[in-house]
């Protein structure tokens, strides 16, 4: 058998725990009565709030407008009233303005979205503007505004448009379900982006632990009038990272500090492409996303289509509540996600999963001294030296860490996962990167 492709350096194989939610078909979460809509739901500048307390809003209306090129607007998920404008701390530590929105009892008819082919008459600029105006951002977790990613800089050419169906984080199954259930939407999203990028090759990368998704996507691309290759990839974390996926599929290495376009590649997640389809073909702004609610502490794991702004507590209740005492509730995947301290935290554009983890699933041993075993160095996909970087950061010498490649760290968590001394390496890297960014900003 042919050797399956993967990235060459480092990587780990955490238990994937996907069976908990993999067979749960997507269902729509019941809409709550109160929504919390943060203005910072994407990478870049937060949106500027365009409504004020007491305003009536309708579903799909702009609540915050894009405040620059690398920014995205925020839309209302529902008809309702703006109750209050507050300051909120998101799970990643960022502070942001947020609207408290109360759904109206006597709802007007929600807008109906019907597919249309009219986008085919638009030029590139108009298409990008439509994507931008609908608030589409990268739904794989990075929440980078989609229109920026699909703008090819002058003089660059796209050799590879890589569709990311890897979903390498353990537990999460939302992208998997999307590939099975919304295949046509994803393919139309690919078609839209194809007209923007005009790539030489289109490749869909899926890890071989999802044979069903591979089969469905393979069958589906055969019916297309343009060539798309579905590539099975050897299971390894963090293959879903942009740089690792490019390396796995094309063998090209994105230079340190560079963007994928530097090696002629653009990567986009399947959920983002579905968002592009909704925005461009249906004319629907990004007000909903898929969230996997799972973990051994939840009664009924599920893949829910959730209106943005719904609270985590609401989703947990709709999944039957807790079965065992949870010790940790995580927003996102177990490797890169954030622990939640407050269940009233809302689902935002970047929330891919809610994990309710029990004692058996969480390793809470104490940190011991570094034993120099070198495992973190072996598994780092970026070829960094995590234990050395951590020591620099621990001694507050952030520049020294940066000189040894700290800024290349993707915070994938492979090092912390494999550390036998349980050193909080990722937290260290995050702190170091933050300090360097702060220093640069001054």
């Amino acid at each position: 058998m042919k050797q399956l492709k993967t990235f060459p350096k480092g990587g780990v194989h955490p238990a994937d725990h996907k069976a908990l939610a993999a067979d749960q078909a997507i269902r729509r979460a019941d809409p709550p009565s109160v929504y919390v809509i943060p203005m910072a739901q994407h990478l870049g500048k937060p949106a500027d709030c365009t409504v004020s307390s007491g305003d009536q809003v309708t579903e799909g209306m702009v609540l915050g407008s894009s405040s620059g090129f690398i920014s995205a607007p925020v839309h209302s998920p529902v008809n309702g009233t703006v109750k209050e404008i507050v300051t909120l701390q998101l799970p990643n530590g960022q502070k942001t303005q947020a609207l408290i929105l109360e759904a109206l009892e006597s709802q007007e008819e929600p807008p109906v979205y019907t597919p249309s082919e009219d986008w085919k008459n638009l030029d590139k600029q108009a298409l990008l503007e439509r994507i931008a105006s609908m608030g589409v951002v990268g739904l794989g977790g990075a929440t980078f505004p989609a229109h920026v990613k699909f703008t090819v800089p002058k003089g660059s050419k796209v050799d590879y448009f890589i569709v990311n169906g890897v979903e390498c984080e353990p537990y999460l199954t939302a992208d998997y379900r999307l590939m099975l259930e919304e295949t046509p939407g994803i393919l139309q999203g690919i078609d839209v982006v194809r007209s923007l990028l005009q790539p030489e090759h289109i490749v869909i990368g899926i890890e071989n632990n999802k044979p069903e998704a591979l089969r469905v996507m393979r069958d589906a691309v055969e019916a297309l009038d343009f060539p798309v290759e579905v590539v099975p990839l050897k299971l390894k974390y963090p293959q879903g990272d942009e740089k690792q996926l490019i390396k796995a599929v094309t063998g090209r290495e994105v230079p340190s500090g560079g963007l994928p376009i530097a090696v002629g590649a653009v990567v986009s997640n399947v959920a983002t492409l579905y968002g592009v389809y909704e925005a461009v073909v249906l004319g629907k702004p990004l007000t909903e996303r898929l969230v996997t609610v799972t973990g051994q502490g939840i009664q009924k794991p599920a893949n829910l289509k959730v209106k943005i702004g719904t609270s985590v507590a609401e989703l947990i209740e709709q999944c039957g509540g807790f079965v065992k005492k949870p010790v940790k509730i995580v927003s996102g995947g177990p490797m890169m996600g954030f622990s939640l301290s407050d269940l009233n935290t809302p689902v935002t554009k970047g929330t891919g999963g809610i994990l309710v983890l029990t004692e058996e699933e969480v390793d809470r041993k104490n940190t011991t001294a570094c034993l120099q075993c070198g495992r973190c160095v072996q598994v780092c996909p970026m070829g960094l030296h995590p234990t050395r970087l951590y020591k620099w950061i621990d001694h507050l010498d952030y520049e020294a860490a940066a000189a040894e490649g700290l800024m290349d760290c993707k915070e994938c968590g492979s090092c912390a996962y494999s550390c036998p001394a349980r050193i909080p390496l990722v937290q260290g890297m995050k702190l170091g990167k933050l300090m360097i960014r702060k220093k640069k900003a001054n």
């Binding site: 230079p255 104490n366 570094c370 034993l371 120099q372 070198g374 234990t387 050395r388 036998p420």
Partner: protein
């Protein structure tokens, strides 16, 4: 905070260290079979003395005792000759733990392998009782399980290493299975290889270091042998005699004192251990070559880590 500290278990859980201790259990059982129940007494005394030495420091520093101390004590006990006076064993392990590890700041901070530091100390200080009185192991059933110590009339047997370098021949199978005189846990090559390979498979020990040790030892040793230097051990017999296998698998791979953060560092470190072993065995009057080879290589470990890290950084800078 004070309450919380009290609730911490006395010994910290370290999975890797526990694995090494489990892997050593067959060797402990074998040492009882070959050398009688006294070997268990050696082990008990050494464990107690080693644990107490670390405990005293841990109390003062308000730290936990590391599981690693039991790896150190068990390795040290198994590297003692069967007739070792118990007080010498105790002195050795106290020196190893205190001066090999705790004075550097405790677990994770030591430069030298603590078990080997202790071993080197007692071998140099008490040379006569440790090297002159090796005894023939017991064989057959029930072996040492029915004895305290093997017959004492065979008391003055030299170790295979001394006998081989004296020109005597020894049956290979005796060396391989362990029924020759030697240190408590080092005689059975078969058991060391089996448990050692298990550790390699579990990735508790680095296969690169072990492999490099063997290459580093075999190449010069074979060359010396065929050049025909006088008194050179046959390279193949040399592998199974003395503490070479035991030290390559268990001592050289200690993550803390070896060079582990780069693969190149691992290879060079292992080669260094191997070459030094061969050189010391061939050109010095001292039979305990591996001990000193590893202690010497320990000194180069931080340098290797640093050198290869710098090389990697330069390569990266050149690429961008």
């Amino acid at each position: 905070m004070a309450d919380k500290a009290k609730k911490r278990p006395l010994v910290m859980k370290q999975k890797i260290m526990a694995q090494v201790v489990y892997a050593l259990i067959p060797l402990v059982v074998a040492s009882i079979y070959f050398f009688g129940w006294r070997s268990l007494a050696v082990l008990a005394v050494v464990n107690l003395a080693g644990f107490l030495s670390e405990y005293v420091f841990a109390r003062v520093y308000k730290q936990q005792v590391s599981s690693a101390v039991f790896v150190t004590t068990t390795l040290f006990a198994l590297s003692m000759p069967p007739t070792v006076p118990l007080w010498i064993a105790a002195v050795g392990i106290v020196f190893g733990v205190v001066f090999g590890k705790m004075v550097f700041g405790g677990f994770g901070r030591n430069i030298f392998n603590p078990a080997l530091s202790g071993r080197a100390f007692v071998y140099v200080s008490f040379g006569y009782p440790l090297t002159s009185s090796f005894i023939e192991p017991v064989s057959g059933f029930p072996g040492g399980f029915a004895r305290w110590l093997p017959e004492l009339d065979s008391l003055t047997k030299a170790t295979p290493l001394i006998r081989l370098s004296g020109g005597q021949d020894l049956p290979f199978m005796d060396l391989f299975l362990g029924s020759t005189s030697g240190s408590l846990g080092e005689t059975s090559a078969l058991l060391i290889i089996i448990t050692g390979v298990i550790l390699l498979i579990l990735k508790t020990a680095s296969y690169r270091i072990v492999l490099a040790c063997f290459i580093g030892y075999l190449v010069p040793q074979t060359a010396f042998f065929f050049i025909g230097l006088s008194g050179v051990l046959h390279p193949f017999y040399g592998l199974f005699a003395g503490s070479l296998l035991f030290a390559f698998f268990y001592m050289a791979t200690d993550p803390i004192s070896s060079s582990q953060t780069t693969n190149k560092g691992r290879w060079v470190y292992g080669l260094l251990v191997g070459v030094l072993t061969s050189l010391i065995r061939t050109f010095s009057s001292w039979p305990e070559a591996v001990t000193f080879a590893i202690l010497l290589a320990n000194m180069f470990a931080p340098l290797l880590d640093y050198a290869f890290k710098q090389a990697a950084a330069k390569k990266k800078a050149a690429a961008t």
